[in-house]
Amino acid sequence: MTVINNTSLAFDEDQAMILDVARDFCRERSPIGAVRAQLDAPLGYDQALWQEMVGLGWPGLALPESVGGSGLGIRHAVGIAEAMGRALLGTPLISTTLAAQLVARATAEERVDAFLADVAAGVPATVALLENPDWGSDQCQCLFDESGVLQGAKHFVPDAQAAGWFVVVTRHRELPALALVRADQLPAGAIVPHTLIDETKRAATVDFSGVQLTPDAIIAGEQVTVALCDFYLLGALLTAAEATGSAGACLDTTVEYLKTRKQFGKLIGSYQALKHPCVDILMAIDSARSFVYHAATLLEDGSLGRDAEIACRMAKAQAGDALLQAGDRAVQFHGGMGFTYECDAQLYIRRAQWSSQQFGDALHHRKRLAALLLDTAA
C-alpha cells in the first residue's frame, strides 16, 4: 500500500443526470439577483423555490423509498451540492440531507421513520452539534436528566431558523447519543440567530433547556458514534462539493471582468500578474473537483472506510483552500470595485470564509490526514 493508494473515480449515468438537472435548475432559479434578494430575508431562501426542490425529490434523494425517499445513495447528493454552490443557492438542503443521514445511520429502528418521512416530504432538519468553535473538540454539555429534560445550548446550528426538526447531539451512559426535537417543542426565544459572514447562509444558537424528550426521541448505542463520524465526513464532503461549485462561479466572475476591464489601453486580462493566478485557481478547482467525485465514488450506505475518510478530508481541505484563493483574488482583481458591496466578489469571499470553517478547516483535516497517511506503516 502506498500513501496515494486508492484513486478510484467513477461517475454513473444517474449521477450525470442528476448533476445536469441540478445545474440547469440552479442556474435558472438562482441567478445572482435572486441570491441578493435573499441576503437580508430572515430565512435566507424562497419557500416556493424550496418546494420545487422538494418536488424534485432532493431532500429524500438518499432515503429509502419506504419513507418517501428515492432510494439512491448519498453520492448522488454530491452533484446537487456542487450545483447549488455554483449558484450560491442557500436553502436548508445540505443541513437537512446531513441530519437525515446522521439519524438513518445511527439507527434502523422504525421509530425514526416519522422523522425521515418528514424530511423526504420537505420539512427542513438540522444537526445541533457544536458547543464551541473547535471542530476537533468533543465537548458535550447539552444533556438530558432522568426524566428526559434537556439542559444546554448549541451554537452554530445551521438553518436553525427554518428547521422543523433538530437532531441534538447529546450523551447517554457516557456515550454519544442523539435526541430528536421538533421545533414546536422549543420555548419561545430559544433560537438566537448568528450574524454570519456569509449572508446567503443562516445559523443560530439554540437553547434546548427545558425541552422534554419522549423516550422514543432518544437514539443511543454504539452505532451513534459511528454515525457521527460518518456525518462529519459527509458534511465535510458536501461542503467541499458546494465550495467547489462556488469557486468555479467565482473564477468565472473574475475572468469575465478581466476580459472587459481596460487599463493602460489594454484588457487587464492580458497581464500575466492577473492571468497566471487565474490558472493556479483553475487548477486548484480542478483538483478539488477530482477529490470531490473521488470521495463520492467511495461512499457506501454502510459506514465510511479509511479510503473514503481520506478522500472526504482531502476534498474538504482542497476545496476550502481553492475557494479562499478564488474569492481573495476575485476581490483584488476587481480593484476598487472589488471593495464594494455591489461587486459579486464579496459574495464569494464571504462564502469562502464561511465554508472553510464548516466541518473543520484545511489545517484541521491535514492534521488528521497526516496521522492516517504517515503513522501507519506503508
Binding site: 496515494i4 484513486t7 461517475f11 448533476l19 445536469d20 486580462g269 492571468k275 487548477m283 467525485y293 497517511l373
Partner: protein, 400 residues
Amino acid sequence: MSATEQELNAFRQQVSAWLADNKPADPGFLLPQSFMEVGTEQQLEFLREWQYRVWNAGYLGMAWPKEYGGGGVEPVFQSIVDQEMRRHAVPICFNVIGLGWAGPLINHIGSEEEKARYLKGILTGEDIWCQGFSEPDHGSDLGNAQTRAVRDGDEYIVNGTKIWTTMGNFAKYMILLARTNPNAERKYDGLSFFLSPMQVPGIDARPIRKITGEYGFTETFFTDARIPADCLMGAEGQGWKIAMQTLQYERGAEAGAAGGLAFVRVLINDMIEELRDMTRDGEPLLRDPVVRDQLVQLIMEEKANALCEKRGAIQALGTDYPFSLQLSHKLRFSEYGRRMRQFAVGLQGAAGGLYVGDAQARQGGFWQRAYFNNFSTTIGGGTSQVQANIIAEHVLGLPK
C-alpha cells in the same frame, strides 16, 4: 470488437510475468531517469537493447499499425503494459521523440511512404530521433525560428543553429522546424516541417554539459547542409501547424504515443519511505508537525494529479472548462515534481548538501539529481510560464 475484462486481466498477468523475467539487472552505472538524460554511449546501448527487447516481445507500439511494426490492437493493451512497466520499475524506452512525438505525428498525418520509411525504426530503437525546434535566440518564441531552408532542385539547403537538441549527437533523424519563406506576412506562415536526416555533411551536433554535470543535449549547427526535398512534411508553410500538433503529443494533451516509459516516475511514497529513519531535532522526522503538514500537502497534490488524469476521461465531469485537464497536465505534473523533489532534498539536513559521487549522499544523491533533472520538464516542451499562458488563453479565454 473490444477486449473483455477477462482478456485484459489475463494479458496483464502475462505482461507482468514477462517483465519480472526480463527486467534488466542494475548495470552498475548511473541510468537516465528520463530520455533527456542519455549522456553516454554506455547508457545509450543499454537502453537501446532494452527497448528492442520490449518491442520484440510485442509490448511496444501495440496500437500502431501492424504493417509498420506495430501490434494493431486497441490502445488499452499498451496502457496495461505501461502501467505494469511503471509498477515493475523497469528502465525507460528512451527513443521518446520518435515513440511519443514524431511517431504519432507520422502515423496521423504522414504519407504511406513516410510511415513505411520511419515507423518501424522508431519502435525497434534502431533509428533515434531528435527535435530541432528551439534556437539560441528563439525558445519560447518558437514561431520566430530563423533557421533557413532554401529549396535547391531536389534538395533543401539548411543554415542556422538549433539548441538544446536532446540526443542530437546520437540521432539519425530530426523533426526540424525551419524557415522556407522569410517574407511571409505572418511569421508563422514562413515555417516548414522536415523529417530530416542527421548524418549528412554540414550538420554538427556538439554536446552541451548540463546542470547535473552530465550530457544529454547538443547545440546543433547547420552549415549549408543539404537534405533531400522529400524530407518536407506536408507542404511549405505548414510547419507551424505541424509543430503545434507535435507539441500536443509532447505535452501529453493528445494520444497516439507508442508507449513505454519516458520518465522514471519519482513518487512521494518512495520519498516518505526513504525518510522514515531520518531525524530532526533528535526526533523522528515524520513526527515533526511542520514536515507532516507539508508532506500531506504534497501527497494531496500527487493524488489530485492522478485523479485529474482519470477525470479527464469522464466526459460528464469535464464540461465546465473544456480541455482544462488535458492542457494543464504537463504543468501540474512538472511543477509538482519540482516542489516535491526540492522538499525531499531539503529534509536531509547536512546530507542535503552532498551530491552524486559522495559516499555519504543519501541514495547516491538520487534526490539532488532528480531535483535538477526535473527542470527539464518545467523548461523543455514549453516552459511552465508559457503553459500558464496557453491555459489562460485557451481554457479561460483571457486575452493575449
